[in-house]
C-alpha cells in the first residue's frame, strides 16, 4: 500500500490498462500532448504513443459516435469529456446508440467503451461547467454509471470499467482529484455493480454518491461524537444498482438518508427512496430524508454556490431529523 491522489490513481489505472490490452486507446480534447485539462492523462502519450493516446476536435459528437463505432468493431475506447455538462452533447450517442446496441444486435456484440467525465460544483466555474449529470442518464437501460469516492476505488473501478463489455459513464469529481488515500501497489480491480459499506453503524443508514461519500463520512465522524452511529453505504455503481446492501442496512438501522450532489427533485435519491419504500417500508422508523442541491442551476457567486452544494451540516441535520431530534 502507498498513498496516492485520485488523479494519480486514475492515471495509473489508464496506464496499466493501456499496457495490458492493446485494444484500449484513449482520446479526447487535449488528452494527448497536454495531458488533459486536469492533467489526468499526463505522460501517457509519451509512454504509449500518439496512436494510443491522442487529441481530438472539441466535438463530443465525434467522440461519442466514433467511440461507439470503435467499440462495436473490436477495440476498447476510453473517451474523456472535459466537463460533465458536455454530456448533454454526447447524450444522443450514449442513450440512443451505445446503450442500445447490445439489445439491437442478436449476436452478443457488446459496446466496451468508457466515457470519463468530470462533474460537480465548488470551483465557481458557473452553470455550464459544474453540473452533476447522473440524473440525465439514470433512466436509460443499457448504460452503467460509475461514481467512485476514494483513490482506491477510482483506480480499481476504472480498470474494471475498461475491461467491462458494456458502455460505462465514469464520473470524476473535480474537487477530489487531490484527495489522497491508500492504494495497493499491485494489480487489483474493484468489481462494478457492487455497493460497499464504507462505515459500519447501527442507528441510521446514509447512502451517499461520488463526492458526497466523503461528506457523509465526515458527517458520520461528527455524529459519532454526538453518540449517533451512522452506517455509510457507497453504491459506487449507480446504474444498475446493487440494492440489497442498502435494504439490508435499512432493515438494521430503520432510518435512511440519501446524499447526492445534483438537485433533489428528480434525482437519484428519489429512486433509492422509492426502492426502499417498496422493499423495506415497514422497517423504517422515520420518514426518508434526501440531501441534495436545490432545484436551480449551479450558481456562480461563491456564497450562492456554497449554499447550493450539500455539506456535512446538511447531512447531520437530515440524520437528526430521522432520529426525531
Amino acid at each position: 500500500m502507498s498513498e496516492h491522489t485520485v488523479r494519480e490513481s486514475i492515471n495509473r489505472a489508464l496506464a496499466e490498462e493501456l499496457e495490458r490490452d492493446e485494444r484500449v486507446f484513449l482520446y479526447g480534447e487535449d488528452v494527448g500532448d497536454y495531458g488533459g485539462l486536469y492533467q489526468v492523462t499526463d505522460g501517457l502519450q509519451d509512454r504509449f504513443g500518439e496512436e494510443r493516446v491522442f487529441d481530438t476536435p472539441l466535438s463530443e459528437t465525434t467522440l461519442g459516435g466514433t467511440a461507439v463505432g470503435a467499440a462495436l468493431t473490436g477495440t476498447r475506447p476510453v473517451v474523456e469529456i472535459m466537463f460533465g455538462d458536455f454530456m448533454a452533447i454526447i447524450a444522443d450517442q450514449i442513450t440512443n446508440f451505445a446503450a442500445k446496441m447490445y439489445f439491437n444486435y442478436g449476436d452478443g456484440t457488446g459496446v466496451p467503451m468508457v466515457v470519463r467525465t468530470t462533474y460537480g460544483a465548488g470551483d465557481q466555474f458557473g452553470l455550464h461547467h459544474s453540473q452533476s449529470p447522473i440524473g440525465w442518464f439514470q433512466n436509460v437501460p443499457g448504460i452503467k454509471i460509475v461514481a467512485p469516492s476514494t483513490p482506491h476505488d477510482y483506480k480499481g473501478l476504472l480498470k474494471a470499467s475498461i475491461r467491462d463489455d458494456d458502455p460505462v459513464i465514469f464520473l470524476e469529481n473535480k474537487l477530489r482529484y487531490e484527495d489522497e488515500g491508500e492504494v495497493p501497489d499491485g494489480e487489483y480491480t474493484v468489481p462494478l455493480c457492487r455497493s460497499e459499506r464504507k462505515r459500519k453503524g447501527e442507528d441510521v443508514t446514509v447512502v451517499a454518491i461520488g463526492g458526497m461519500v466523503d461528506v457523509a463520512m465526515e458527517a458520520a465522524e461528527r455524529l459519532e461524537a454526538d453518540g449517533v452511529d451512522a452506517e455509510v453505504i457507497d453504491p459506487r455503481t449507480v446504474v444498475p444498482l446493487d440494492k440489497e446492501p442498502i435494504f439490508d442496512s435499512v432493515r438494521k438501522t430503520h432510518r435512511l438518508v440519501i446524499v447526492h450532489e445534483a438537485a433533489t427533485f428528480g434525482g437519484f435519491g428519489g429512486e433509492i427512496a422509492a426502492e426502499v419504500a417498496e422493499e423495506a417500508l415497514f422497517y423504517l422508523d422515520a420518514p426518508i430524508e434526501r440531501v441534495g442541491a436545490p432545484f436551480t442551476p449551479v450558481p456562480f457567486a461563491e456564497n450562492l454556490e456554497e449554499a447550493y452544494l450539500p455539506d456535512e451540516e446538511d447531512v447531520i441535520e437530515a440524520v437528526q431529523n430521522t432520529l426525531g431530534r
Binding site: G65, T73, N96, D107, L192, P240
Partner: protein, 328 residues
C-alpha cells in the same frame, strides 16, 4: 475494376433481388402483413449493390435505414425477412426493427433512428481498423438529409484529419423526407460542396451500378492504402415516399422522368446488348428470385413471436432483474 461476365451477372442478380424484395415488402405491407413500417429503396438499388460489390467481405458497412441492398447481399434472406416481422429468427430475435440491424459476423454496423448518427460510428470503425492494423475499410451510406446535420460535418472532418479508411456515400435522392434537399442546403449544385479541401469527393451517377462500383472501388483503394476518406455523392431517386405512411407530394412527371433511368433496366439492357445474358436467363432468374423471396415471407409469417425473456437483454456483463436491479 474489370468485370468478367459472371461478375456482371452477379451484380444484376443483386439489383433484381433488391428490387423484387422491396416490391414484395410493399405488397405485404399493403395487405396488412408487415409490422415494420417500410422505408423502401426501390429506385436506389444501384448505389447499395455497386458500392457493396467494391468492398471486400471483411469491410464494414454502416447502412442507413434505406440501404437495403447491402444487407440483402450479406445477411441470409430468411433472417432479413423475419427481422421485419419481429420474430425469433430475425437479426435481434424481435428486439429491434430490421432497418437498424447490426451484425458483427456480417460486417454490418447497427444504427439508430437518429438520421446520421452512424456516420461517426463508421469513422470509429476506421479507428478500430487503425488500432488493430487489419486494413478493414468502412463504407457508410446516408441520405441527403443527413448532410444538414452536425454529425456529417464532424465525421468528415475527423476522418479527414486522421486519414481514416472510410468511404462516405451520400444517397442523394433529392428529397429529405418530403422537402426538396435544395430548399434546405446552402450549396450551389452538389452536396459534396460541403467537403473541405482536404477530402477527395466526386459526384456519381447513382442509377448506374457500374459507375457506382468504379467510383467506390477507387475510394476503397485510397482508404486501404492509408490515404484517407472519400466523399461520394450518388445521384439517385426513390420511387416511393420516404415511408409508406407518408402522402406522396412529388410530381408525377418527376417520378416518371427518373423511372426512365431505372437502375435495374439500365443494367439489364447493358448485359443484353453485350450478349452477357439472354431473355431466357433473365426470366429464369426472375422466377427463382421471386420464389426465394416468397419462401422467406412464408417462413417469417410462420416464425414464432419472441418469448418475453428475449427483451431482458440489456447488459452483457452483469445480470439484472427486470427492473434493472443487480442480481447477486
Amino acid at each position: 475494376m474489370n468485370l468478367n461476365d459472371e461478375q456482371r451477372r452477379e451484380i444484376y442478380e443483386n439489383l433484381l433481388f433488391a428490387r423484387r424484395f422491396e416490391e414484395t415488402v410493399l405488397e405485404a405491407y399493403e395487405s396488412g402483413g408487415v409490422p415494420e413500417l417500410p422505408h423502401l429503396s426501390i429506385g436506389q438499388e444501384a448505389v447499395g449493390v455497386g458500392a457493396t460489390y467494391a468492398l471486400s467481405e471483411d469491410d464494414w458497412i454502416a447502412p442507413s435505414l434505406r440501404t437495403r441492398a447491402p444487407i440483402l447481399m450479406r445477411v441470409p434472406l430468411k433472417e432479413v425477412t423475419a427481422g421485419m416481422y419481429g420474430t425469433v429468427s430475425g437479426p435481434s430475435e424481435g428486439r429491434t426493427t430490421q432497418h437498424h440491424m447490426g451484425s458483427t459476423e456480417h460486417g454490418i454496423l447497427g444504427t439508430t433512428g437518429m438520421v446520421g448518427s452512424h456516420l461517426n460510428a463508421a469513422v470509429g470503425a476506421g479507428l478500430s481498423s487503425r488500432q488493430l492494423g487489419d486494413d478493414r475499410v468502412s463504407a457508410v451510406f446516408f441520405g441527403d438529409g443527413a448532410t444538414t446535420r452536425g454529425e456529417f460535418h464532424t465525421a468528415l472532418n475527423y476522418a479527414a484529419v486522421e486519414d481514416l479508411p472510410v468511404v462516405f456515400i451520400i444517397e442523394n435522392n433529392g428529397w429529405t423526407e418530403e422537402t426538396p434537399i435544395e430548399q434546405v442546403t446552402a450549396v450551389e449544385e452538389d452536396l459534396i460542396e460541403f467537403a473541405g479541401h482536404d477530402l477527395p469527393s466526386s459526384v456519381v451517377d447513382g442509377q448506374d451500378a457500374d459507375e457506382v462500383l468504379a467510383a467506390t472501388s477507387e475510394a476503397v483503394d485510397r482508404a486501404r492504402e492509408g490515404n484517407g476518406p472519400t466523399l461520394l455523392e450518388m445521384k439517385t431517386y426513390r420511387y416511393r415516399p420516404h415511408a409508406e405512411v407518408i402522402q406522396e407530394r412529388r410530381d408525377e412527371a418527376e417520378i416518371k422522368r427518373w423511372k426512365q433511368r431505372d437502375p435495374v433496366k439500365i443494367y439489364r439492357d447493358r448485359l443484353l446488348d453485350d450478349g452477357v445474358v439472354d431473355e431466357a436467363w433473365l426470366e429464369d432468374l426472375d422466377a427463382s428470385l421471386r420464389e426465394e423471396i416468397e419462401a422467406s415471407f412464408e417462413f417469417a409469417q410462420n416464425d414464432p413471436a419472441p418469448p418475453e425473456e428475449t427483451m431482458y437483454h440489456v447488459y452483457k456483463d452483469v445480470e439484472v432483474d427486470r427492473d434493472g436491479g443487480v442480481v447477486r
